[in-house]
Symmetry: C2
Subunit: 158 residues, 2 copies
DNA sequence: GCTAGATAGTTTCACGTGCAACTATCTAAA
DNA sequence: TTTAGATAGTTGCACGTGAAACTATCTAGC
């Protein structure tokens, strides 16, 4: 009879680890600034990229449901962390970009989060970290999980 | 100015991967049998272990909130996939164990899920798989995420 | 230029989950 | 024996999220 040790089952381990890491991060820093995970994803995408993006683009890049992004954008607008300008070429979509306040928050948050990530990985050697990231990358690719900016653009333009 | 590419940020990658894997599994197999993730966790714990367990024990092992386990147990009882017997030594808790029907479902499900896990990891060589699991183990340990049966028992007995 | 279908974004709804309060039971100490 | 505090399990509540419906706008084909 086939058996399965849940504690060694990869999907379970990933789910447990992701949940733990996520609450650790959001609990300590993100909640501190009054923004939640989807809002952080919007801000992170806008902060990293130079040009303004559409909500659709953010949704595709972060693989987050468009309704979730929509609500996050509404909140960020309300708190004046981002602003949106109409797109003359296509009046269905809006160009989103961080405000000065949003950029300030972003710049405060980044070092904290990067430090957190380093803490999390500090139990691995440099080589192990590299291998771990590479393995993760292979799995992501095989699951067609990686959405490059190019692909997103291509999709956006279909 | 510090920047952060969300797509290379480990917490984000883990969250995205876990979500994808989870929906892939639950969508294709678990939903097919009308049970959801918490119910599967209960069944997996009971099926793997020989002796009956308490809900508390399952909650600790799987790091799933006790209210979630409670609801999962209620559903599984309703569908006669598990049964519970009073514990004479401590009448607060119940001993949970799979029924014949539950065991049958478990045995049908296991090979499918294991095959799925293999598919997911098939993009890695044997050595890479081993290294990946080891790295994951180190991170889990450093985050105090690993709950052994012994520890759970110790905690249960405080 | 019109119409059909696609797309961006919003909103309503149903549902699953964590938190906190609650009941029942157990343990330890006075 | 009584009482205070801990524990097992359940339930009400608030909240976040995905699916689906909806509006407005765009594109392609006629």
């Amino acid at each position: 009879m086939a058996r399965l040790d849940l504690l060694k089952f990869m999907p379970f381990r990933l789910s447990r680890l992701a949940a733990e890491v996520s609450t650790a991060l959001s609990g300590e820093y993100i909640e501190q600034y009054g923004i939640d995970v989807p809002q952080w994803r919007v801000l992170a995408t806008l902060g990293f990229r130079e040009e303004p993006c559409s909500a659709q683009f953010i949704s595709q890049c972060t693989r987050t449901h468009k309704s979730t992004i929509s609500r996050a954008v509404t909140e960020l607008l309300k708190h004046k962390l981002i602003e949106r300008v109409e797109n003359e070429d296509d009046r269905r979509e809006f160009r989103l970009q961080p405000t000065a306040k949003g950029t300030r928050l972003y710049e405060e948050l980044i070092p904290r989060l990067l430090r957190r990530e380093q803490d999390m990985l500090s139990c691995l050697s440099a080589q192990e970290r590299k291998d771990f990231a590479a393995a993760l990358g292979k799995i992501e690719t095989s699951l067609d999980l990686v959405q490059t900016s190019q692909q997103a653009k291509a999709k956006a333009a279909y």
